[in-house]
Amino acid sequence: MKKTAVKFVAGALLLCLLLWQANRVLAVKYDDGIYSVTKFYELEDNTVDVLVLGSSHAYMSFHTGVLWREHGISSYLLTASAQPLWNSYYYLKEALKTQTPKLIVLEGYRLLEEEEYLPAGFVIKSTYGLKWSPNRLDAIKASVPQEQWLGYMLGYTQYHDRYAELAEEDFTPGKEAERYGDWKGFEMGMTTMPLEQPDFGTCTGTIALMEKTEQYYRAILELAQEQNIPIMVVIAPYGGMTQEDQKRFRAAEEIAKEYQAPFLNYNLMEDGAQIDYGTDMYNTSHLNGRGSCKFTSKWGDYIAGQYEIPDHRGDPAYESWERDAAYLDALLEDVELKETVDAGRISEALAAGNYDIFLSVDGYCQLEEEAVNSVLGGLGIGDVQGGGLWYLTGGDNVVWSSGSGEASQYFETDRHDFGLKRVQRPDGGYDNEIVIDNQNYKTVNNGINVVAFDNVTGIVADSFGIDADNEYQLCR
């Protein structure tokens, strides 16, 4: 009997361990929802001074690096894609267990919410990051109809079919990409969608918020009030605000007034964020990196003037905010590099930046061409007759070069693999290969190819060629 009981317990434990491991691998790990909460749990208690709640409008607008660089404010964006206010409410409840922010900010785009229940993906993003607690269960209950509660609470029934999309990060806990090391929830829009400057016009009147949205909106305001924490509502700039949106925001503003909470709609403020819709938008709904810097700078000045929020710059306990800012600075540089079209300026940026540069001279190439010269000269590469491959760090420090014959070299870091290979073809010519993390980078067949790998952000910041077949134009 005793032996049977031992076997039973051991078997049950083993089975649970196996299922737990399978669940851990299959669990969703979205960076636009789940991760913002799991990283939040890693923070030291009472280190966040400004806590931002909301949807993608929040995590693409409030630049945690700018806030730190300009005011030394330690902020965190506890957000998720399309997060409705009922989920923001439970995020706030969960956050207040460990943090006592000096200011709570609700980005209010989802005040426009009209759907009582959102699609499964959004529900998962806004609930599955939360630890098992009454808050998580309540968040699920608020997010889906009653008949679906059980399925969502079990969790794995919602995501077990992810097996077809498993990736490295699903199997390597703790081995996070560079971007998550000190992440504070900000997602930078890396490209630009040029838009026309919108005219939102003026309108009067209000449209009532959806009942459920208003209920949780008030709950958020009341919770902040109960905790004696100032709260403000901000509508970050976006391109498509309609008259109907304005009326709903006006209704929301009146509710905020009841709680003495400032309500700032940066789309309507005359001296708002001074967003240039031609260069500062990622898409019609979100700011890009440049736009978020402008907006945050303006808004940061406002809160620094209105609230007593300490400046933590230089405090060793807040080093991770410094690293987060450094990462975001580098990321913005990557964006700027990719948007530069002048070969000379690119060359300067490469020489000055924190890039590993991989360069190949391929096929026929007139070295005296200005574009070629400026790139090679800027990087300090002289003798390139016969072509070849080069690996440089710190702007112009040549780590390895192939010479004009066949050669190959492989480099590796903690997370990345680099391969350089020069092989002779049967016709006597040479093929050069630059491979980073199993991806082959080659833009032109004749001319020069350059790949800039950013060591800080861990991404290929830029990959371009000077094309001998196209009048030595710069190609991406």
Binding site: T4, K7, F8, G11, L14, L15, L18, L19, A22, N23, L26, A120, L150, G151, L154, Y156, T157, Q158, Y159, H160, D161, Y163, A164
Partner: protein
């Protein structure tokens, strides 16, 4: 509440835990309450139907038994036929009412006599064919004097409504299940081997359902519902996969039922025994839905005269049984035709048998070797798959259209060019399905060659292997099983019967 639902995941452990700890005297009533809760989770109202059927057959049994003691054979017969008539009447009304009205309407319209536009609006009560047959089997057994009438109403009600096999069988015999229930107080529940054995059967059942049946269903539904768009390759693959789907779907339900009952201390009859290894259609029906086949044999075929009244009568009896069996499966002419095809296979086989023997002898064919068995099994499988087309097609017209397209639209290149991955199952899903089917073949081979079910086989192996297989299956189901948010639930096919 289906076996592969979240509700059952909670329901069964709770029922089991209480069943194991409550006083012995309460076991029976507890299982009855659980069974009715299980049934009412589909539709509360239909519990009245099963209760009525239970009460009717219970009283009939007692009256028949008493009349026998007093020698009143006429009353016995009257009660028996009244009981059969009322129960079958309920079954006919709920299951076949609209079918008969629609068929009558069609017939009248063809003859330009008139039309019947009335239709019944009620839903088909889940599992009505199963529990009706089980209760009728009991009444006939009592009439024949093969079992004594059950006087304990709670026990009898539990026999009719026992939740593991209530909605899709196996259709149990009173001689087997009722006698076990009479012994429920003395059951030794804490038996590790029996519990482990039942759990293994349940896991294997879930594997068949969630890994094979519901995955194959994706492709099968795509093709059968749009067969006009496909050629022979897709149609053949879908027909073969449907054969596996229905086996794994129905077989899995039976296995889960048998496993669940076993954990609770009851041995249910085997319902499937490697049907696709059958070497003839008769052999197939000895391995497929055994509880129904033997029910028809005992309560219809033999009373009709069986094979005792000449070849012609035997052929007629076979056709009656199989046409009835077809109709039992569903209120549609395609089911009747499916049953008729199986009946015809057997009748033709019987008539050709002497001729076949003669030619085998003349040609000196070795029938005692593997290759002959393989040929027979292959031929049987082909015939069964062909008949399944009628079973799965949405109508008789669709079935003929499906077969016609296999013939007139040959697309053999599609077996090679990857087009089969566009039928709802991509390459990964197809690979998972193929590996699962391979495992199914292995388990069926063990059953066929070593005459051992999976649980019995594993119990003869070392602990590490037993755990590796059992836990491996659980993890496979956990990861690759068809369930959850993105899952379009394929109800157990036999529920509709």
């Amino acid at each position: 509440m289906e076996f592969n639902s979240i509700e059952f995941m909670f329901f069964f452990p709770v029922v089991l835990a209480l069943y194991f700890v409550i006083p012995r005297a309460a076991r029976q009533i507890w299982l009855l309450v659980a069974s009715y809760y299980f049934y009412m989770s589909w539709n509360v109202k239909y519990a009245a139907l099963i209760a009525a059927s239970t009460l009717l057959t219970y009283l009939s049994g007692i009256i028949i038994d008493k009349c026998r003691n007093r020698g009143k054979k006429g009353v016995m017969l009257t009660v028996l036929f009244s009981c059969l008539g009322i129960n079958l009447g309920i079954l006919l009304l709920f299951k076949y009412g609209n079918f008969f009205l629609a068929s009558l309407d069609k017939g009248l319209r063809i003859l330009h006599i008139g039309f019947v536009d009335h239709r019944f609006s009620f839903l088909l009560p889940v599992g009505i064919s199963f529990y009706t047959f089980q209760a009728l089997g009991y009444t006939i057994d009592v009439y024949r004097g093969e079992v004594k009438a059950e006087t304990n109403l709670i026990r009898y009600a539990l026999f009719v409504s026992f939740f593991p096999q209530l909605v899709a069988g196996p259709i149990e015999r009173s001689k087997n299940l009722l006698s076990q229930m009479q012994n429920i107080r003395n059951l030794k529940l804490w038996n590790a081997k029996r519990v482990a054995s039942g759990a293994i059967l349940m896991v294997w059942g879930f594997f068949m359902k969630m890994m094979i049946a519901d995955r194959a269903a994706v492709l099968v539904n795509t093709v059968f519902d749009n067969y006009h768009m496909y050629g022979s390759a897709e149609l053949i693959v879908a027909a073969v996969l449907f054969s596996l789907q229905i086996y794994c779907d129905f077989g899995s339900y039976s296995l889960i039922a048998i496993g669940a009952a076993k954990i609770m201390g009851f041995e249910l009859m085997e319902n499937f025994n490697t049907p696709y290894f059958a070497c003839s259609i008769r052999d197939f029906w000895g391995r497929w839905h055994i509880s129904l086949s033997t029910w028809f044999r005992d309560y219809l075929y033999i009373p009709l005269g069986g094979n005792r009244k000449g070849r012609g009568r035997k052929a007629a009896n076979i056709m009656i049984v199989f046409l009835t069996s077809g109709l039992w499966h569903g209120a549609n002419w395609s089911y009747v035709v499916w049953g008729g095809i199986h009946g015809a296979y057997q009748v033709i086989g019987d008539f050709l048998s002497p001729w076949k023997e003669k030619w085998l002898c003349r040609l000196r064919v070795n029938t005692a070797c593997f290759s002959w068995k393989l040929l027979q099994a292959g031929t049987t499988f082909f015939l069964v798959v062909f008949a399944w087309i009628f079973f799965r097609a949405n109508s008789l017209r669709d079935a003929f259209g499906y077969i016609r397209r296999i013939w007139i639209r040959p697309t053999p290149w599609k077996f090679f060019n990857g087009d089969l991955y566009t039928l709802g199952l991509d390459r990964l899903e197809m690979n998972v399905l193929l590996v699962s089917i391979f495992l199914l073949c292995l388990v069926d081979l063990i059953r066929y060659r070593r005459k051992m079910t999976l649980d019995a086989f594993l119990m003869t192996q070392n602990l590490w292997f037993r755990w590796a297989v059992s836990f491996g299956l659980v993890v496979l189901i956990f990861v690759y099983g068809k369930y959850g948010a993105g899952y379009d639930p394929q109800q157990f096919i036999y529920f509709q019967f």
